[in-house]
Amino acid sequence: MSKAVVLEQHEILCASGTLKSASKAIIDGKTAVREGPCFDYDVSYAPFPDQTWATLTGAAEELRKITGFNPDIPNLLFVYCAAKGDVSSIENNTDLSGALLHSQARKAAELLGFKPSRIIVVSSACASGAIAVQTAKEMLERGLYTTAAVFGYDVISRFVVSGFYSLNALSAKQARPFDKSRDGLNLGDGAALSIFTYREPRDGDVIVAGAGCSNDANHRTGPSRTGEGLFRAAKAALDDCSGYSPVIGAVKCHGTATVYNDAMEAKALALLFEKIPPCYSLKGAIGHTSGAGSLMEILLASCFMKIGKVPPTAGFQESGVDEPVQVCARGQDFQGNSVLCLSAGFGGVNAAVVLREFKA
């Protein structure tokens, strides 16, 4: 049996709480999005239920406490991912070194109790988490490190809310991914920690079977109109799965609920599949948690695959895309052995990760 990148341990913090409470709430079709105002803007948003998590220190300490893992891991790679991470020092005009992602990475590693052999900081906007998982996968497969910890953190701030508001990307209501009446996204708080190793998988393990990324080469902030960039990222991820024979039972879409993102994503899926598998987006349930969200959603997708469910897409009622995308309004059983997770971000970045449940 050959080795694979195995997801050993993971935990998240989001508007619906931790992995256990959030996965249950999402399966039950509940939303943690609340109506604004948010920093004086008339937009809906998805904050942590416990605001002590809304600092880098608070999130890292909570994740360390609830996972209860032993941080004394030899030959550890620590990958930090965020779109903006902690911008409080910029907003408050205090020590600006705290706004540098590599300062945040060192602080997070220390708070989690890690003594990593190497730290890598990746920032690919809202695709950061998926790119961080890809980074960890590559480094483990090369045998450079025995364990990789991937940590993501992005929270709602005046800085980020005002920015997305200035781009007319936020909705005053709950986000409605792929819906006919979708009109924008909801920002959310998010943090996530995952531990990966490279070993022979056992029955029931979730492995990172494939990962890929691409650039639209089209626009600084807007998605491509053709979906061709995301298609190439997903194709690269599926091609990377050689030997794992993935049968895609669901697609965890980026599904921001902006008009152009969801239209682009539907086009990419139509290019990729003859028959598009059941699709879902988590943005209407827990908001869009930027770079951390991409990691958090991968970890939730793993959880849903393990329990054999495709969750409903909160906020979705009637399809508003031209392609025959089967967006799940209600939860359904998961048929297959793998889930395809899609992300996209500013700069034209697209990323895809394939998770597979291993059966001997």
Binding site: L96, R118, T135, G212, G347, G348
Partner: protein, 252 residues
């Protein structure tokens, strides 16, 4: 050890002393105060209206990358990727955006540039670089990590060609820090008609080292670019947090 061979098909650097290219070092003009003042026609022969709107990190990345690609026969393609290191992230732009927000008029243009990944957007758009991207915003030896990723992707055929870029922006925190600098190399797994030099990257992980042991990557990679410009054979050793190894350059 992790030994990888690549070929350099184009290179450039914007440094306080001038612009480094295969044609030699061109000093800044009198009215220019270093890399942040670079003009479009110094790095790109055709007009690019967006050039004037670029903020400093984007301008450094675009100019260095464009200059490295200027003599390359076919830079673009579905499998041409970008591996970029930008340790300061978008901090200088963050401050511009915050200033616009504090004045009551948050600028969407500044905000869209506060994501480090938007630094590669203009290069990707202009040269049609549609392959994989990796943006490394610090950690241990980030420029080396970006080069290492480029080598890995080429070896594994994830990309046919990679534009490696490193942007070291003058720190908005420490004003007396080193000046702005950016370096680029256009790399492939196999030599072609554009090939200038062969580059071998060899390294292995080392154990945890104290945080204060930092590799001066700007000096190291400017030595690499200088050797490329001067057609020198060179072996440059690397020893920093997380690994040790060397870069070996052999001119073609």
């Amino acid at each position: 050890m992790s030994r990888k061979r690549m070929y350099v098909n184009g290179f450039s650097a914007l440094h306080k002393s001038g612009i480094f290219t295969a044609e030699g070092l061109k000093a800044w003009e009198r009215d220019q105060n270093g890399p942040a003042d670079v003009k479009r026609d110094q790095v790109l022969s055709s007009p690019y209206p967006s050039f004037g709107k670029l903020n400093i990190p984007d301008k450094l990345a675009f100019s260095s990358g464009a200059s490295a690609l200027s003599k390359v026969s076919e830079p673009g393609g579905d499998k041409t990727g970008i591996c970029m290191c930008i340790p300061q992230g978008s901090l200088s732009t963050d401050l511009f955006y915050m200033d616009s927000l504090n004045k009551g008029f948050p600028s969407p243009a500044y905000f869209s540039a506060t994501l480090p990944s938007s630094t590669i957007a203009d290069l990707a758009i202009y040269f049609k670089l549609k392959g994989p991207d990796r943006i490394i915003c610090g950690g241990d030896a980030p420029a080396f990590s970006a080069l290492d990723t480029a080598a890995y992707w080429l070896t594994k055929k994830k990309a046919d060609k990679i534009l490696w870029i490193s942007v070291w922006e003058k720190s908005p925190i420490n004003k007396s820090s080193e000046s702005d600098c950016a370096a680029s190399m256009f790399l492939s797994l196999e030599p072609d008609q554009d090939t200038i030099a062969e580059i071998i990257l060899d390294h292995e992980p080392s154990g945890p080292v104290p945080d204060q042991v930092e590799l001066n990557e700007q000096d190291l990679f400017m030595e690499v670019i200088g050797a490329l410009m001067n057609k020198e054979q060179k072996i440059i050793s690397i020893s920093g947090s997380g690994f040790r190894g060397y870069i070996s350059l052999q001119h073609k």
